[in-house]
């Protein structure tokens, strides 16, 4: 359950930047190909935020889709799963995006 440690890291970054002002909203980007479960982050977020300046903050999660390039034929296409193949049949796919795990923005009161 690496989501617990990741959520602690997220809250550390956010509370540091907020400088004692109340954090009311956090916008996270979790790519569809990242091995992070948004629901687990949500679960941990409320627990970890308790007693901090981010307690009660609304957590918004954006999930950008994956995109890959086939190393065999060079085609670029959207990746909906880790196991996705290129139409040419090759599974040798370079991931261009979709593994993001980023704090996009936050709102402070």
């Amino acid at each position: 359950m690496h989501e617990l440690g990741l959520t602690q890291e997220i809250l550390e970054i956010v509370t540091q930047r907020a400088q004692d002002r109340k954090v009311t909203r956090v916008v996270l980007e979790i790519g569809k190909l990242s091995c992070v479960l948004p629901d687990a982050i949500r679960f941990c977020f409320d627990l970890c935020a308790e007693g901090t300046i981010a307690e009660g903050a609304q957590l918004e999660i954006v999930q950008p889709p994956g995109r890959g390039r086939c190393r065999q034929c060079g085609a670029e296409f959207n990746l909906h799963s880790v196991l996705a193949h290129c139409v040419c049949g090759s599974s040798d796919v370079e991931w261009l995006c979709g593994e993001e795990l980023r704090i996009k923005a936050m709102e402070i009161a």
Binding site: H2, I13, R25, L83, I103, K104, I108
Partner: protein, 266 residues
Amino acid sequence: MCAHCGCADGTESTLTNLQTGRHVHVDSAGREYTHEHEHTHSHGKEHAAIIRLEHDVLLKNDRLAEQNRGWLDGRGVRAINLMSSPGAGKTTLLERTIRELGAELGLRVIEGDQETTRDAERIRSAGANVIQINTGTGCHLDAAMIGRALRQLDPPRDSVVMIENVGNLVCPAMFDLGEQARVVVASVTEGDDKPGKYPYIFRRADVIVLNKMDLLSHLDFQAAAFEQAALELNPRALIFHVSATRGDGLESWYRWLRADSDKATS
């Protein structure tokens, strides 16, 4: 994403009135969303503010991993991140490797477990210097832990450091430690469908060691199916079939370790 409020999903467009500063989000169904509120307070420091961060959550770890990589490169030391589920045979593989190749490669070990120094004691008995990291509740090693352990271990020039990660096929996949190579140990007692079930760790492996091959005749494990699934995820992975307890097939593993450490020192 809206630069003013950070709104990201569900809205198609934003209208901003430059005169009033009012902005409205419109979603695909034409519904409007505003962020207006009663202005009974002053617009001083207390006003809600949106701060754009664009901060990668793993940035700290990734930076520390790069520092570790630089530290290792500076000494010509090769670090190998060994990952598997609990019980796949990482420690047994290491014990045998230390006995048969330890002196030649100058093998050192960093052991990761939630609790106990049991594995580190086994490694020491096999004849290698070892640092044990106990992660407590942690399910993986991270770059900060490895940075500290490397300084304690103080590997000599041109040696090889094996990092035995916490037994877990999920979390260690995400954390760069600063290693030069990633090895996943799988065993035939685990089932041949492991690559598809834990794709991230297999996708990122340079080498896959399939262990406990001596037990194959007692099990319904299709080595070809395992290999096919692993190569579908990671066509460039090298796969070695071994039995760490009996020593079968270890020549290819040793050959790779030798070649790999030559690469570091050349």
